[in-house]
Amino acid sequence: MLNKNGLTENLNLQKIKSVKELSVSVVLCVLLLFASLISPAFFSGANLKTTAVGFSCNGIIAIAMTLALVSGGFDLSVGSILGLSSISVVVLANSGVPIGIAGLFGCLVGVLCGLINGFLIGYVKLNAFITTLGMQQMARGLIYVLTNGGSVGLKPEAGVNAFRFIGSGTVGGFPVLVIVFLVFSVLGDIVVRKSSIARNVFFVGSNEKTAMLSGINTKFVKMMVYTLTGTLSGIAGVLTLSRFGTATASTGSGVEMTVISAAVVGGVSLSGGKGTVAGAIIGIILLSIITNILVIMNVSVHWQNFITGMILILAIIFDALSNRKRH
């Protein structure tokens, strides 16, 4: 039975819709409890606020990365696209283009990079790893060209203050950046759970051949997935700039690994076909809180990587064990 209904059964849609992020949430709760015991500073408003601001841009990218992973691929170029979008906005705004238009252009840079990735992976059938790795280096190279290896700040021109408000302002004590992130997450989660377009991504990720035979345009689906990761990275780049007011040669470095590992910790499968946006977001929160706790506990910087890696593995083991019990 190679129709969509058959596929749906095979996929066991219940898997997608079930609260898979439950086990990660339990890990998160244990961690929160642990943190509150360690230092009263952890639950202070200031700490929660700055931690949330810190993961907002990565969280926005994690939404799209979830779909890329679900489709059976991943995107290594998100960090560099973020940086390229940031520096493009600075260069345009400093040369006299109104900041609003420059900001839109920054998002467009993301769309364009994503489209190129998507076209090459979907239609030319290139490997996602090497294509996005190539894009990562190309974009980072352009950043080096535009920043001359250093950093470029936004000139204080008309509109820049309003633009900076998105990244650094607060509404009723709540950071605007976090609000933007929450809006994106809620929308992203609903779209991924409910829309038929997103469902096609799950079909492609579970079994590409069957999906193709059942009439899904897999090439187009793949192209759209990478266009989305590019676009959200572009948006994250503009938001990062509005927070810092400066783009540097290293803006966005390493973001791809943080986002991919967060998604995997949050239950998104590296082999495709499985995962939720909510899971990936919980993963991002989990990783940020681990780093936060390590700094609060004054753990030596040389040990921090080791401990982060260990907790990552423990979280995945816990997830795997609880999954096995459930089935």
């Binding site: 952890f42 700490n47 700055t50 931690t51 810190g54 080096y144 250093g150 810092f244 921090q304």
Partner: protein, 352 residues
Amino acid sequence: MKLRKLVAVIPALCLVFSMVACSSRNTAKQVSSAESAQSSSDHTLAGITTASSGQTYYMVTFLSGYSFWTECWRGFKDAADLLGVNAKYGGATDYDVNSAVTSLQQIIALKPTAMAVTCMDASAYKEPINSAITSGIPVVTFDSDSPNSNRTTFIGTSNYAAGVAAANYIAKKLSGKGRVACLTRTGQSNINERIQGFIQTIAEKYPGIKMVQVVDAGNDENEAATNISSLLAKDSNINYIFAGLQQAVLGTETALSESGLKGKIKIVGFDTDKTTLDSIKNGTVEATLSQSPYAEGYWSMIYLYMLANQQCIKSSDGWYKKGFPSLPQTCDSGCTIVTAQNVDLFYTDQSK
């Protein structure tokens, strides 16, 4: 099948022939330029520069393209232009010892007249530098040294000394009493050295100053800001933060302004990027350290020129080969504290 083999063999043969041809041509050129330089009886600068025209000097870095190197290269190129020789800039673009050394060896294979090298790792660079010198290419190191190699001179200020300077500056400002924190990046030896200089000076020289915490600056300004915010949530009773690298300066500025501590905690940064200089002007950063990258590049080129055109110095016949001491082993390019008082001096034409 035979055709296929032939197709595979032809490019390989071409490669071998071209390598042989190139190396013999380069060697010939090398010998002839050295001979012409040495046989030149004209000891005036004009005579030497005529003899040296056509020489090619390399500046080799790791993490090529980084803004600090761009400034070194500006100095290197200016000195080369003054002397009428060719200057080239090369080196790996990533932060990986293996690719940095490979890239260095590839440049050595090009047989440049002489080369200035900054060492990502002191011991990993020793062999390649020594092999370059054995094959007749004089080498100086700049910014980061390989002290056990046979390089003639190191031009720069040690990162450790820069960290010491930062500690002394802050201690003076605090009159020897207060609380400080600093940001480092794990796994990067030059930054680690300056942070070690900072921490050890505070610990040994200033008992009244407490080192609250060393925080990792992460990969970019977002990680630096997040980590410093975590520290501030726990303990904001800090007088100074020493941000040992540029992205950490930006991250710290943002973290302080987001925590409402802007102005209460002072920042001392590192390097003289335009944005850091701007921050000093508008008061968000109190001071930064400059390791004089232009001077490092400029004097590297001058020293290399002296080594490649040995008739410039008449200390002893054939002094370079005999190892007769004629150039300083180290040349301190200086480490300057940049504050609001002298910040204008550090804006270059490029950064304006």
